[in-house]
């Protein structure tokens, strides 16, 4: 018998195995949901697939009676708008600050400990401050995500910059590079793929902060909807919404990975 660490599935086997946990979860859900519905047709906890399908149809393809809007798309649009705006700001700030801290010793001495301290503040703990200072509008929600995500990206990129072999920076100087040229032609191009990695890592927490902010103060959005219908135990809404959020997050992650592979082939495959 060969060692377990040396046994690996072939392609078809790997594909089957990767699908297996999903199938098991769906099967378990179907089993328990039909069992509960057989015992109590009014069960709200594990709605039948037919109920869920009807709800999805209602939320995704029919106009809401009160607002006249299709709720799922409206929620998706406003949530994505907040998320993407915040991520764009975080990427720009994270890249420029991380690069500068990584490359310039004076800035590193000044800012690195400060950013490290900032990144340890639990963002949700300062959410009340944001509501007080910038009000309950869009700005507070976007700011929460920015505050939650940016320090982590800054630190990550500063570390990645410092990781570049010292030989490279010395070589560039012997080729006549000024600090600016060195940043522009040597450091920045090598940080792009690392920025994408950092963004992929922060997607999870960005969604977390988005939903938290929407749950507390919002009138639309995916997180708002989930917390709204919770009052009615509307699992037939919550479950598809959660699946939809997961799909959106997965797609964003996949797109970023694709971008990295296409645009930065020299950097090798990412994680």
């Amino acid at each position: 018998m060969r060692r377990l660490i040396n046994l690996s599935p072939n392609r078809a086997g790997a594909l089957t195995l990767s699908v297996l946990p999903f199938v098991l979860v769906v099967a378990a859900y179907l089993f328990y949901s039909s069992a509960r519905n057989a015992a109590n047709p009014g069960d709200k906890l594990l709605p039948l697939p037919a109920t869920i399908a009807a709800t999805i149809h209602q939320y995704a393809f029919e106009e809401d009676e009160r607002s006249g809007e299709v709720l799922l798309w409206k929620d998706t649009a406003s949530s994505l708008e907040r998320l993407l705006a915040a991520l764009a700001v975080s990427a720009v700030v994270g890249l420029s600050l991380g690069l500068a801290i990584g490359v310039l010793p004076y800035l590193r001495a000044t800012l690195a400990p400060f950013v490290a301290a900032l990144s340890l503040i639990p963002p949700l703990a300062i959410l009340p401050i944001l509501f007080i200072v910038v009000g309950l509008g869009e700005a507070a929600k976007v700011t929460l995500i920015i505050i939650g995500v940016t320090p982590v990206i800054v630190r990550d990129l500063a570390f990645r910059t410092a990781e570049l072999p010292g030989e490279q920076l010395i070589k560039a100087q012997t080729l006549g590079a000024s600090s600016w040229q060195l940043i522009l032609r040597v450091v920045l191009p090598q940080l792009w793929p690392r920025l994408i990695d950092a963004m992929r890592m922060s997607l999870g927490s960005a969604w977390l902060f988005l939903i938290a902010a929407e749950a507390i103060a919002s009138t639309e959005g995916l997180g708002y909807r989930i917390f709204l219908v919770r009052r009615y135990l509307a699992m037939d809404v919550i479950l598809p919404y959660v699946a939809w959020i997961t799909l959106l997050a997965f797609t964003m992650d996949w797109l970023l990975r694709l971008l990295r592979a296409k645009a930065f082939g020299w950097a090798g495959p990412g994680a």
């Binding site: 010395i170 070589k171 560039a172 100087q173 012997t174 080729l175 006549g176 032609r185 090798g268």
Partner: protein
């Protein structure tokens, strides 16, 4: 004309003396090879010349001027590894020095100036035998090809002095002969002074017009850090240059 003069130079890190009382005069267009046991300050000497370390005492002059405290385009360097830019192709790596020096703001050349730079780079690429790999990334090259490119990358900037830190140390012994021929060719083409650290004695005598041996002359067994190394042998090799010219 490049003259390198070292007068009574010491280098210590805290209480540890690495180099003591180094005195040297190196004339123009010499090929200086530096040998010595590990930990004898060869690399420290090279780092001082490069500008990333400073002498603790004494003088280190190039053409009568003290060394700049940081690396500059008058002194090229080839390290054993990591001196190529992984995000640039072979051609882009080669062009980089010309682009730095020709375009302060963008670090890129355009139009006619770019064409001229490309022409120069192409000639050099041919001289190092990498013309077919112009579009490849460094990671796709063998170790020997990477080192040839790294040398050419420095040479294209026409430095007065080229520093080589065990450039062939990590290479397959079978290709070092080619590398030796290449470095001698570039050295003759560009009339620069070369300082090369190596651990290979045979290589040092084959290539050099002058061999410097770094060693400790005094050793205190109770305090091994108390005394540093110095140049114990400074051996000019005659007739070498004419042999290369053939």
């Amino acid at each position: 004309m490049t003259q390198v003069t070292v007068k009574r130079m010491w280098k210590n890190f805290g209480s540890q003396v690495v180099l003591e009382n180094v005195n040297l005069h190196i004339g123009d267009h010499e090929f200086v090879t530096i040998v010595g046991a590990s930990g004898c300050g060869k690399t420290t000497f090279l780092k001082i010349l490069l500008g990333i370390e400073t002498p603790s005492k004494g003088e280190f002059l190039i053409d009568g001027d003290p060394l700049a405290g940081e690396p500059g385009p008058d002194r090229g360097i080839v390290f054993q590894r990591y001196s190529l830019f992984p995000h640039l192709t072979v051609m882009q790596n080669l062009l980089l020095g010309l682009e730095f020096q020709g375009s302060p703001l963008l670090g890129r050349l355009f139009g006619a100036r770019r064409r001229r730079a490309l022409e120069r780079a192409r000639d050099l690429l041919e001289a190092i035998g990498l013309q077919d790999a112009a579009g490849k990334y460094p990671a796709q090259l063998s170790g020997g090809m990477q080192q040839r490119l790294s040398i050419a990358q420095s040479v294209i900037c026409e430095p007065k002095i080229l520093l080589l830190d065990e450039p062939f140390g990590a290479l397959d012994p079978g290709i070092t002969a080619d590398m030796h021929a290449l470095i001698l060719k570039l050295w003759n083409m560009n009339k620069m002074t070369i300082f090369m650290v190596t651990h290979d004695l045979q290589e040092s005598f084959e290539l050099g017009t002058r061999v410097l041996v770094f060693d400790k002359v005094r050793i205190d067994p109770q305090a091994p850090e108390a005394f540093g190394a110095t140049v114990t042998y400074n051996i000019p090799l005659k007739g070498h240059r004419s042999a290369v010219g053939e």
